[in-house]
Symmetry: C2
DNA sequence: ACCTGAACACCGTTCAAGT
DNA sequence: ACCTGAACACCGTTCAAGT
């Protein structure tokens, strides 16, 4: 399967240096042979994104719709954790996938309907769940700049430590908690420094919000 | 300013076809002249992403921390709405920006602290807000595949309409509400078909969730 | 059906040279 | 300080040709 080979290439060498020619080389084949299997580069990457997210539909029964959502969020993150180099593909390629997994959507809608949602509010809640899952994971596993040297890391660290407490009281006070743990204040991504606690809290927040949203008339 | 020129190029021709050589041509200059101003292509795109998100810090005073958050979410979306072609840059380039806007972070933390959060829970809430904003907008404005022809659109539409109601009751029942309005079931993105109502509901859900999260011991 | 092989129009980045 | 100009090693995609 050419999609698996492409994903393996991305896992190995990263998305930045991925090319159809390198893929062809890895397969021991001429560059132009790829074109026979795949209509184009972007379509191949879209297939890779789908491959990464396959099998995230929570199986079996759950004690509650909240439990189902929690299970989904964790599976979604786990899927990207296995292929962090492909993370940038997720946010962009998921737009409108003709062969999207209808079973997945049906079950997610069913869970939300079980929570008391229907109609336009059900659709809004569905979008909220997808947006939340995509947002956290793409951020957590977003690639560090190629210039991610030690000097570069040190610079961010020092910049955060030397923040003036008079102008930035919250930043100064929570400096140690924020460093490498808060989005836009990190020098490593989720591969090296996972945000487990933050993710669990995020899932809590979204589910709590959905509960309230469902409870309102 | 070269960053503005790059952004204008992306607005005009799209991110897919953006290249340093095209940018040079638009500036009436030799391709290699670009290298004098910018260390590399990816750094330039990172600067573009920052440019798009500048001035999203809500100004002045707000009646509540919830109001502040709501204002932020809307401003964030508005910023991307102005440059939808640059949307794919947001999710991936925001990782760890050395010259990130500290004023923005301080004020967001202050708003959340005002809501009763502190310490690790404050950091988690901060991450939740960023993840939420990034997630919805990158999804909403994610580029349609280059193959987004009429035939392609028609295919998704028909596929959704012919869903078997026995196996997919939720999908079948909410078919009209989901088509072009639910993530992964759209054939247009936010530029042509904005998800205003869904976004406002999403903001509600996140803020409601944060209220609950802050209220728990 | 599947791959080779040559070719085309591009691309980012280098480095020396000009002014 | 700022740009030219030539060059390098790449890239995706085409199209005809082979088997």
């Amino acid at each position: 399967m050419i999609i698996l080979a492409a994903l393996a290439e991305i896992d190995r060498a990263g998305l930045e240096s991925f090319s159809l020619r390198n893929l062809a080389k890895a397969l021991g084949v001429f560059p132009t042979a790829i074109s026979w299997y795949v209509p184009g580069r972007s379509q191949l990457l879209a297939e890779v994104a789908r491959k990464v997210l396959e099998d995230i539909t929570p199986p079996g029964f759950h004690d509650s719709w909240q439990g189902y959502l929690r299970d989904f969020f964790r599976r979604f993150r786990q899927a990207i954790r296995r292929h962090p180099n492909a993370a940038p593909l997720i946010g962009t390629q998921l737009v409108a996938n003709p062969a999207v997994d209808l079973d997945f959507i049906e079950r997610l809608l069913a869970a939300l309907a079980h929570g008391g949602l229907s109609g336009a509010r059900l659709v809004a809640a569905y979008n909220a769940v997808i947006a939340a899952a995509v947002g956290f994971t793409t951020q957590e596993f977003a690639p560090v700049p190629v210039d991610g040297t030690d000097a570069w890391q040190q610079e961010i660290r020092e910049r955060l430590q030397s923040v003036p407490a008079t102008r930035y009281p919250q930043l100064a006070q929570n400096m140690k908690l924020l460093g490498n743990k808060a989005f836009t204040l990190r020098w490593q991504n989720g591969t090296e420094s996972p945000l487990d606690a933050s993710f669990e809290a995020f899932v809590d927040i979204v589910i709590l919000g959905l509960e309230q949203f469902a409870g309102r008339t």
